[in-house]
Symmetry: C2
Subunit: 355 residues, 2 copies
């Protein structure tokens, strides 16, 4: 299944849109670069991969993506340093996780070389689209969905894998106030919560809207059985600092194995910060907040890197976090983005130079 760059058909756009983009004023994921990588799975195998102009997709009304939710994705970023070199961050982890998601959703796994060579070749074509301003990056969205036809509730027989790119600024700005969820849930034991499956996100929107109506920006998800344990922060993994210990919850079949999450754990340990990976009760957060030992709460994910939390609501009561200087969140965000953007040595071997 190995491919080589020369096997990818490259069809370049005749009309680049790059001069119409205000790179100093980028939102997250709303402007798309000139090209995308496309590979179709048909007749039991992956077809010839292509790089083509970013363009609409045409599907039959009975395509299973519209009916049975076979859709998975990844989120990655490409960074450009001061010399104009382009880097990815732990891309093999995205590839492997995409295939873990694919398996759980009964979708074909993508040969790693197709993904990696396709991505690198795409980034070479889109190099001018990679912003270099601090905090910005080329957000990369690999995604796969069912194109096979028919109303029968069964896996599709064809799929489309695409990598599209969006030059982006920071995902969130400022601290967010979160609501600890007491009723709704993100995922089931034995379900698909660990996969980056589209359906996991759609189910979060309504509870998040309800939280917004109450004045919160995000939801802290809790376990679906007791709602006593915290699980994720919106679409991110969650970190808690109690005194000087940094805690996060273990991954499971309900919780995404976030790349930012595990990078933060590794960096924190290298920085001499005590870390603990264990279940965290809501009652422990409340108690720590009340006795002053709760110092920080933040979400961690590719898009926002680290999203600091200013306070949380639970059972109609609000708990404020202290305003600290020199937070773990700021330190860890600086360390991880310095590695990502080639501002520092990469002792972990995470950075991959593309061109």
């Amino acid at each position: 299944m190995a491919i080589h760059t020369e096997n990818i058909i490259v069809e370049k756009t005749k009309a680049s849109r790059i001069n119409s983009v205000d790179f100093s004023n980028l939102n997250f994921g709303s402007v798309f670069s000139d090209h995308m990588f496309v590979c179709d799975y048909e007749d039991g195998k992956w077809q010839t991969p292509k790089i083509v102009p970013y363009q609409p997709i045409t599907l039959e009304p009975s395509a299973k993506i519209f009916h049975y939710g076979q859709s998975i994705f990844e989120g990655m970023k490409a960074y450009k340093d001061e010399e104009g070199s382009v880097f990815l961050f732990r891309p093999m982890d995205n590839i492997k996780r995409m295939n873990i998601s694919a398996k759980r959703l009964a979708m074909p796994e993508i040969p790693e070389a197709y993904f990696m060579d396709g991505l690198k070749e795409l980034l070479k074509v889109e190099k001018d689209w990679i912003p270099s301003a601090k905090g910005s990056a080329l957000y990369i969205r690999p995604f796969m969905f069912a194109t096979g036809k028919g109303f029968h509730a069964s896996p599709a027989d064809s799929y489309k894998f695409i990598i599209a790119c969006a030059p982006s600024g920071a995902y969130f700005s400022g601290k967010v106030k979160v609501l600890i969820e007491e009723h709704y849930s993100r995922s089931a034991n034995g379900g698909v919560g660990f996969a980056k499956a589209g359906g996991n996100y759609a189910g979060q929107f309504y509870p998040t809207q309800l939280a917004k109506d109450k004045g919160y920006q995000q939801v802290i998800w809790t376990d679906d059985n007791t709602h006593e344990y915290i699980e994720e922060a919106g679409a991110m993994n969650i970190f808690v600092r109690i005194n000087d210990t940094l805690l996060t919850v273990p991954t499971s079949d309900r919780i995404l194995d976030g790349i930012t999450r595990k990078s933060i754990l590794a960096i924190a340990e290298a920085e001499g910060i005590t870390t603990e990976v264990r279940k965290i009760k809501v009652s422990e957060l409340i108690e720590a907040s009340e006795n002053g030992s709760l110092k920080e709460l933040f979400g961690a994910g590719t898009a926002a890197v680290i999203s600091p939390i200013s306070g949380f609501g639970y059972k109609n009561k609000d708990y404020e976090l202290p305003e600290l200087e020199n937070t773990y969140g700021e330190l860890l965000k600086k360390r991880i983005t310095d590695i990502q953007t080639n501002q520092t040595d990469d002792a972990f071997g995470w950075r991959v130079k593309v061109c």
Copy 2:
């Protein structure tokens, strides 16, 4: 929000495909009729509804259906009697459930009149596509998905609602052998299991494949916390007959409020069959199988109506069901299809004549 038939723009096909279809040999949901109803939600409101030739849909690669799983659907059937009259079965229940699904997935609710008038008008246009042979029907698939653009994980700002039709024979043939699931789950407490959301189905495919590899055709879903209680049968509601009592489990936020399910309960009661709606333990099924009181197991849903189960596997042991004559499953299927196809009086007021 009321619409009238004269407000629906009807654009008829110039080349009907109906003569290319072998109506005596129809699979389920794989041949599609000439037209579909389409209504777009844009700029905060539903736009002019249209009936157009069945045709491909074109979407941006960043359309949220590809990324965040905002997709819901319904399943209905239109029946034609010997005089050529066309009937629907409890269509308002589908409309109401579609909007329950829409709300949970943070999608706009569809005005009931748009749905109903659009569906009726579509059926008048597609009347010749409705098969009248026993067991066959025009399967109707209303579905809605997010068309709005952007990689931000938030509800889309535009949607497409479509009603497409597929003349279909029976969904399943023969009895199925099922596996009681001990690890995987279909839905979470506080999740979206009660909604007809695409993601609920994608998550079932892989565990179902594993069951098929072991020689079973379907999975009996159990609660995600203990796996001690049965919940659904594949994509259908589940019924159990113990001695002469017909049991099914209560609906909840994990279990679909099936229209066939509640119709069966009502018909069974009218037939003098004792029914119970309560939680059912796997251990109760095992015990009833061992002491001979377990008489029938079947799934119930629009597509298959009733899908009889010949036996089940649990913890590496197989349990066979008895071969009975005059089963509840057969009786109830005959009663419900007689009502649906205008072969009998409709004491319940469920049948709706379209034309």
